[in-house]
Amino acid sequence: MSFYYYRSSGPKKSQGGIRLQSARGPVGTTWWGKRWVAALEMLCDQGRLSRGKSYARQGQVLSVEIKAGEVLAKVQGSSSKPYTVKIKLPLLKATQWAKIQNSLQASPLHLAKLLSGEMPTGLEEIFNQAGVSLFPEKRKDLQTDCSCPDWSDPCKHIAAVYYLLAEQFDNDPFLLFRLRGQEREKLLAALGSNQTEDSHPPASNEQTYALPSDPQAFWQGGEIPTLKKVQLTTQAPLLKRLKSPPLWRGQERFQEALEPIYENAAKQAFALLEELP
């Protein structure tokens, strides 16, 4: 152990890593994010947890890839080469999945919430009824591995990735399903349709447009539509509706970086309109 501490004069500074959006305090603002974190905190000592959290805040996690049953991540530690972190969760069996699907169909609220990026509280219950736990509960639910020399498992690198995942799940609970082997599309199939495939915007007729040779149409054009009265908006409802992009890696939190731009722009545009001759 002393050997380990000796070597650990802090990690190498990373660039462009994924950062936790929460600047201080506990990670996981939603109940499901908290549940996810709780599972880790059960298995790991306090020192590693808090170091892992600050790793995640400093952007030491360089990449995260969420696949069915597995998370692969690179974390910049004290060694020059980043460590590789693996986190494995058991995949859902087909029968278990069928049961879950069935229950979801009976509960529109759950789906609506999921679609809008929220994990409904009743979902855990639905999983339990299907005989699986939504979150890792026992040691064997969560298999972790890191290429660092720390013997302890989970180590701080694993913890860093784990916290980061918690925040991603906060924004997009579907990621949790992906990890359990079910993609968003399959989940939506519970409704009998696919969300994205047949909903392309109408194709533009760019190739077929020919310039008119009639002088009136060519030079004058048609009547310009009358604009309706403008309403100054400052609360950025569009931004509110969309939340943050998944796996955000910026230094600043997404909403906080954009809100002042939205506010300034709306006010400035409104003032310009007032000034028009």
Partner: protein, 994 residues
């Protein structure tokens, strides 16, 4: 005339200028024969305030063309003969601007198309400007999103599904010339959207707080580049992928909903007795907005029914859930709607309903959801509290007359919508948690702040007010914290209010016998109206159509005022310089008893002399220019009355002359104008501030509540309200009004006296000296020829120095006649009436055509002896059709006979042919069978010159028998030198305009 065209390509704007095509040019050249060359282009654009730093470039555009040349874009630049057209490529010089360099200039372009005389904003440029306005609106409504596009960080407009339709309407309005570099160009939707996006990006980027981000990842560089002037992101290969994936996923749900044919909406229902408010959700079909599916129905819909709606049950469910889920982010209580297995309506308490209406609803609407709210919510008048007053007639103890100073007993009340509230009710409203209340069976909302203002007002306002303060209130002009919805009065005061609002007529006044001439009944009504408003100390705007006699009505009014109080200080009349002579003449004709003093011209009185000079005058006439320059003469005086002729002269409230006019002191005020107000809402404030200060509130408030909504949004409700406020002070009769026209003559002949400019006067004086010298040396035939050619030269001089000197170039500001003609034509064309202009000089016709086109920004026809027969017929047809040009210049010889031009109801004789028969024949082109309107004949005459003297002779037929005159101008040669000198001499004081 030059027309500015815009071309848009690859985020850059190219400006090129088109002018009339040169006649001779090499047929093979592909150079656009009407395009301005690089040097002229640069100079012109610099003059117009555009940066001139870009190098002139050449572009090639495909334009509709005839056999040999491109067609002019507008008839103003030359004829667009009816011929088969095809697209051909033409090269022209242009200046290319980036959006950043171009937008500030675009922002400054005025609403009207004539940028300055001779420079027209083309439709393509206008379209670009309007798209900018649209973009600014989208930004003000925060309908934009950041994107990653070709490794650039850009801002893009966001359309919710129903708004997307607007793009197609805009694309339809786009002139194809804006994007014509290839014959198979990008679709107008694509161009319009690119333009819109470019502007949105520019506005957001420019206003960004310029915050510096510590750049570590490509995510940071993206955020930074959204705020930088340069949108480019520095990056290494493959680095962008995680950012791209992240952003794509972020926008996924929005895209899915945007692509849907359905839109989610919410409907708030008023509560039934003792129940809660109900919030329902529904799906609405975008293609057929009348098609609503309530949430419960959409949820349970079966496949066959869904098929008839062109959808599938799963699709509806998915849209519903996705949209509801997003709506929850804005209004969390919606979650409850989905709490059970089948969706349901939501119950809201009144406080919650208020919260939904006032806070959630606007946000939901901005975010693209549909909303059906109770009708009263959208109506501002039921929202607002207003004041009501009931007046008690004062006891007129010992005082014989009610006047504006009389104190009135006022009982104030506060109304919510239509209902008057008691003080108790008002106080109970103030205690409510939310300003939403069921009041006498109906739901009402009010502004809390207003409520407290109302309470304060009731507690503090005096019970007595002078009538003067109540009149504007009765007409809806509020200077107090709340709008006044009603003033009840009795007796004389009631009559006054009703008269002001046109609900009761007023007594006809008697026109004094000293008034020379007969006033028609409607004119007598006009004079009575002016007097009526004056009695109550109110200003009046007489806005009768041109030709209905505003001048005699005003003079009669002045005469009556002078007779009543002859010792009062004089009346001040302000008019444009071109009209001073006219007023003087008309006053001498209608009211010869009035002592008129002209304060005008370079030799006008100095201060001390001025005071003395006007001491015993009845009427002082001066000009707008002197209002400011001689402020210290005019402002300190207490005039009996003030008349502003062509009162649009003070329309710009900021100008010195407007400020000076509004600070003049007088007992009564009259403004005269001939144009309908709807076209010039912006000019009204200044005019009304002169007439009745405070009536329209502050200028800023007027701009906000009336001018902007009416001009920019064509808001009919605001226009109605504005009209209600000003109508009591504005009298406008139109010629087409049958009750007026029944006592109008069919032909009205008027002489219009115009001043000379300094240049004209100098040339004129030199000519006189020259003539005198030559007359002494000549006799016989030589003398005859000399006189006739002198007469011609004087006429040319009066027409325009350029004609006299045989030059073409700049015409503006050099001829009083031309200036007056332009002023009148502007007014006439604004009312869409048509005009013939006769001149005996073909070259003057040419000068007039160029200048009028430049000033009026419309095509003007010209017919001379050189015009071929076929062309003549074509011109006459176009003019008569009513669709073509509305101004037709004809040379007296070529156009004076034979033609049928009854579309015109105005005839101008720009110069005089001293033969009434020939003039009448020309006039008869318009005044003949087929003419349904009154024809106004305007004869332009330069004051103080030979033109005026001959006009006098003709009128008096002095010394000259009619048949002598009938023979043309030869009689002039019979006059002796003395007589000739008297005839040609220049009365400088009469003639000069400055």
């Amino acid at each position: 005339m030059r027309i500015l065209h815009a071309h848009f390509q690859a985020e850059n704007f190219s400006i090129w200028i088109e002018q009339p095509q040169k006649k001779e040019r090499s047929a093979k050249s592909e150079q656009h024969p009407g395009s301005l060359g690089p040097t002229d282009l640069k100079r012109q654009l610099k003059n117009l305030g555009l940066p001139s730093n870009p190098q002139a470039k050449e572009i090639t555009l495909w334009l509709p063309s005839g056999k040999k040349a491109p067609l002019p874009s507008q008839a103003l630049l030359g004829e667009q003969d009816k011929q088969p057209t095809e697209l051909k490529p033409w090269r022209m010089a242009c200046l290319e601007y980036s959006a950043q360099a171009f937008i500030p200039w675009l922002h400054s372009l005025p609403k009207h198309n004539l940028l300055e005389p001779g420079i027209l904003i083309g439709p393509s440029l206008r379209f670009v400007q309007e798209v900018w306005r649209w973009a600014a609106q989208r930004v003000a409504e925060q309908a934009f999103l950041p994107v990653l596009e070709n490794s650039q960080a850009r801002w893009r407009v966001y359309f919710n599904p129903s708004e997307r339709q607007a793009l197609y309407l805009w694309a339809k309005a786009m002139p194809a010339s804006l994007s014509a570099q290839t014959t198979l160009g990008p679709a107008p939707e694509t161009v319009t959207e690119a333009l819109l996006n470019l502007f949105v990006d520019d506005i957001v980027r420019r206003s960004a707080p310029k915050h510096r981000v510590r750049e570590e990842s490509v995510f940071d560089r993206w955020i930074q580049a959204l705020q930088n002037p340069d949108p480019q992101i520095r990056h290494q290969k493959a680095e962008l992928i995680p950012l791209k994936t992240s952003l794509e996923e972020w926008l996924l749900s929005l895209k899915t909903l945007s692509a849907s044919q359905w839109r989610l909406g919410f409907r708030l229902l008023e509560p039934q007795v003792k129940q809660n408010w109900q919030l329902e959700s529904y799906l609405q079909a975008l293609q057929d907005p009348s098609l609503y599916l309530p949430l419960s129905e959409a949820w349970k819909i079966k496949a066959p029914k869904a098929k008839t709606l062109g959808t599938r049950p799963e699709e509806l469910k998915q849209i519903l859930l996705l949209a509801l889920g997003q709506a929850c982010g804005i209004y969390p209580p919606l979650q409850e709607m989905l709490a059970k297995a089948s969706p349901q309506t939501l119950n809201l308490k009144t406080e919650q309903a208020w919260n939904f209406l006032s806070e959630a609803a606007p946000q939901l609407e901005q975010a693209g959801f549909g909303l059906l709210l109770p009708a009263w919510w959208a109506q501002p008048q039921t929202k607002a509290l207003s004041l009501r007053a009931s007046l008690k007639s004062p006891s007129l103890r010992g005082r014989s007359n009610l006047d504006l100073a009389s104190l009135m007993q006022v009982e104030w009340g506060v109304a919510l919508g239509q209902d008057t509230l008691t003080l108790k009710e008002l106080e109970s409203l103030a205690k409510l948690k939310q300003p939403l209340v069921q009041f006498r069976g109906e739901w009402k909302t009010f502004d809390r702040e207003q409520l407290f203002k109302a309470l304060n007002f009731l507690k503090q306002t005096p019970k007595e007010m002078p009538l003067q303060a109540l009149v504007p209130l009765a007409l809806g002009a509020a200077e107090i914290p709340l709008p006044v919805s009603e003033i009840q009065a009795q007796g004389k005061v009631k009559v006054l209010f009703e008269q002001l609002q046109g609900q009761q007529s007023f007594a006809l006044t008697e026109i004094p016998p000293q008034f020379q001439g007969e006033l028609r009944p409607y004119q007598t009504r006009g004079v009575s109206w002016l007097e009526f408003l004056h009695q109550w100390g109110l200003g009046a705007c007489l806005a009768d159509d041109m030709g209905l006699g505003k001048t005699p009505q005003t003079l009669a009014r002045i005469l009556k005022a002078r007779q009543k109080t002859p010792k009062a200080p004089p009346v001040l009349l302000v008019c444009p310089t071109t009209l001073v002579g006219n007023w003087k003449r008309e006053a001498a004709r209608f009211t010869p008893h009035l002592k008129v003093f002209i304060h005008h011209g370079a030799e006008r009185n100095k201060l001390s002399a001025f005071k003395k000079a006007i001491a015993h005058q009845d009427l002082v006439i001066t000009t707008y220019g002197l209002l400011h320059r001689d402020e210290k003469f005019l402002l300190p005086l207490n005039w009996q009355g003030i008349v502003l002729d062509e009162a649009q002269g003070i329309k710009n409230a900021e100008t010195r002359q407007s400020k000076a006019a509004r600070s003049l002191k007088a007992q009564w005020r009259i403004a005269l104008t001939g144009t309908p107000i709807e076209n010039h809402v912006g000019d009204l404030w200044s005019l009304m501030d002169f007439l009745n200060p405070g009536l329209l509130g502050s200028q800023a408030a007027f701009k906000k509540y009336f001018q902007k909504p009416i001009q920019d949004l064509q808001d009919q409700e605001s226009l109605k309200q504005l009209k209600a406020r000003i109508e009591p002070f504005m009298l406008r009769r139109v010629k087409t009004d049958k009750t007026i026209i029944s006592d109008l003559p069919e032909k009205l002949e008027m002489e219009l006296f115009c001043p000379l400019t300094r240049e004209q006067a100098t040339l004129y004086q030199a000519q006189i000296k020259d003539l005198e010298r030559q007359l002494k040396k000549s006799d016989g035939i030589q003398r005859k020829g000399l006189i006739l050619s002198a007469l011609m030269r004087f006429k040319q001089l009066c027409n325009h120095p350029a004609q006299f000197l045989g030059e073409t170039g700049p015409l503006a500001g050099r001829s009083g006649k031309l200036q007056r003609l332009v002023e009148m034509l502007t007014e006439i064309r604004e009312m869409n009436e048509s005009v013939l202009i006769f001149s005996q000089f073909a070259e003057m016709g040419g000068l007039l055509q160029t200048h009028l086109q430049n000033c009026l920004a419309e095509e003007v026809l010209l017919l001379t002896g050189k015009t071929p027969k076929a062309k003549r017929d074509q011109m006459v047809d176009r003019f008569q059709s009513g669709q073509g040009p509305g101004v037709f210049i004809l040379s007296l010889k070529a156009g004076g006979t034979g033609l049928n031009l009854t579309r015109a109801n105005h005839v101008f004789h720009y110069d005089r042919w001293w033969n009434p028969a020939i003039e009448n024949q020309a006039t008869d082109r318009a005044f003949r069978i087929g003419q349904t309107r009154q024809v106004q004949v305007h004869k332009l005459i330069c004051s103080g010159t030979v033109e005026e003297r001959i006009a006098e002779m003709l009128q008096k037929k002095q010394e000259l028998a009619a048949q002598t005159v009938g023979q043309g101008e030869n009689w002039l040669t019979e006059l002796n030198n003395q007589q000739l000198k008297a005839l040609f001499d220049l009365n400088l004081e009469e003639a000069l305009s400055e």
